[in-house]
């Protein structure tokens, strides 16, 4: 099972966000910290931590951090 809070903390680490807490409703593509590099780090982290690889096409459909959490749990 994926722990949503743990996932959000992992995303905060990737995005180097220290001054605030991310919420599941966050539209990650709109964050100033989001970049192509952050994207690759996210895919790698999900692969490492949850043993799931989300295809580029599927990932394009995801809008919020909560969507990513759901996508991971659907594939576990």
């Amino acid at each position: 099972m994926i722990d949503q809070n743990q996932f959000l903390a992992q995303m905060q680490e990737i995005l180097e966000i220290e001054d605030r807490t991310l919420s599941p409703d966050e539209k990650f593509r709109e964050l100033p910290e989001w970049s192509s590099l952050a994207y690759l780090s996210t895919i790698a982290m999900i692969d490492d931590e949850y043993n799931v690889i989300i295809s580029a096409a599927d990932f394009r459909e995801l809008q919020t951090l909560g969507d990513i959490v759901r996508a991971i749990s659907e594939r576990q």
Binding site: S36, L37, Y39, L40, S41, I43, A44, D47, D48, I53, I54, S55, A56, A57, F59
Partner: protein, 359 residues
């Protein structure tokens, strides 16, 4: 299943040549700030690449590698039965660059020469084709030349303009792998795979048959992934390539270990195409390969397409490979196509001259 078992071909030698000129990533004007350059270095793992500031073609570097190797192996031009040039940087659209090299190197008339058009998966694929053809004994000594050049530019001014705009991921290199029919030889096993549904993940959209060359094909544009290049140059969907690499490559390596009845501990070196550090490290970790078994040439040479694997052998583990002991190797090339290939082989007394640097 496209798995080949080769019983009678030995890799006699491997050589590589690069341009002498070095392009430092930290000096590159293609990054908006120093921080961006440092971020690139940390994630992609490339600090410098070799680029020529003139008209040096991939075939020139391949020829230098082949000639050096032939001297050291004491192979004469008349000994060569087949020459394969594997590249996406051909001298001419017509004729095959293998034929051009055949003439320049003074080879025999009853020598088979042809080009194979592939990129990052080239070394395993080239071995697959060459060894497949050699198995019946019709070809004794074979040269497998491969590599790629930078973007296709005509003058130093245009090359410098491109270097100021395009992120320096790709380097230029040419390599030669010398194969000999040898019975019995240490067994070699090769898997070759394709996923053409991903053909657009790494693509040069304009210039060839689907979108012929037009007046504006040479203009610099920003592609949908935010990268600057000309329409005839490579567009890369980094995310799609990343997902492809970290899914298919560990599967291919594990499949090869299983088919050869080996564990990671049994293999001395795992040689991967040098794509980018994040992807390669993710692949290495998923395969549970210790870092010391996984040499990198990425930092000093960048991504060299089909030349990456032989270039890594020449620049990173040359002394180890030539110490007389047998070395078990699994090599995996992956990328444009999407295409990937894995080879398991043993190298012993393989001749590897030092890296050739060309003015």
């Amino acid at each position: 299943m496209a798995t080949q078992h080769i019983q009678n071909v030995t890799v006699r030698g491997i050589a590589s040549a690069v341009p002498k000129r070095i392009l430092e990533v930290r000096d590159s004007k293609s990054f908006p700030s120093v921080e961006e350059a440092e971020k690139f270095i940390a994630a992609v793992g490339v600090e410098r690449v070799r680029r020529h500031l003139g008209t040096m073609c991939c075939s020139d570097m391949c020829q230098a590698s082949a000639e050096k190797l032939m001297v050291e192996l004491d192979w004469k031009p008349e000994d060569i039965d087949m020459l394969i040039f594997l590249s996406q940087s051909m001298d001419y659209i017509l004729p095959a660059t293998a034929c051009v090299l055949h003439g320049k190197m003074g080879l025999r008339k009853d020598c088979a020469c042809f080009d194979i058009g592939l990129g990052c998966s080239g070394w395993p694929y080239g071995l697959s084709v060459a060894c497949g053809m050699m198995q019946s004994g019709g070809f004794r000594r074979v040269l497998l030349l491969m590599g790629d050049a930078k973007d296709n530019l005509s003058t130093p001014e245009k090359i410098l303009e491109a270097e100021a705009k395009v992120i320096p991921l790709f380097g230029a290199a040419g390599t030669a792998t010398a194969l000999e029919y040898d019975s019995p030889a240490a067994p070699m096993m090769i898997d070759t795979c394709t996923d053409g549904t991903g053909y657009e993940a790494i693509i040069r959209r304009e210039g060839a048959g689907r979108h012929p060359f037009k007046e504006d094909s040479l203009e610099y544009v920003v592609d949908e992934f935010g990268q600057t290049h000309r329409r005839i140059d490579t567009t890369m969907d980094g995310a799609a390539v990343f997902v492809f690499g970290i899914s298919q490559v560990p599967r291919a390596v594990k499949g090869m270990l299983q088919r050869t009845g080996q564990s990671v501990d049994d293999v001395d070196y795992f040689l991967f195409h040098q794509a980018n550090l994040m992807m390669n490290e993710q692949i290495r970790k998923k395969c549970k390969i210790p870092l010391e078994k996984c040499p990198y040439s990425l930092r000093d040479f960048g991504n060299n397409s089909s030349a990456s694997i032989p270039l890594t052998m020449v620049t990173q583990i040359r002394e180890q490979l030539t110490n007389g002991a047998p070395h078990k190797i699994i090599a995996c090339g992956f990328g444009v196509g999407l295409s990937w290939g894995t080879v398991s082989l043993t190298l012993q007394n393989c001749l590897i001259p030092p890296l050739i640097e060309m003015e």
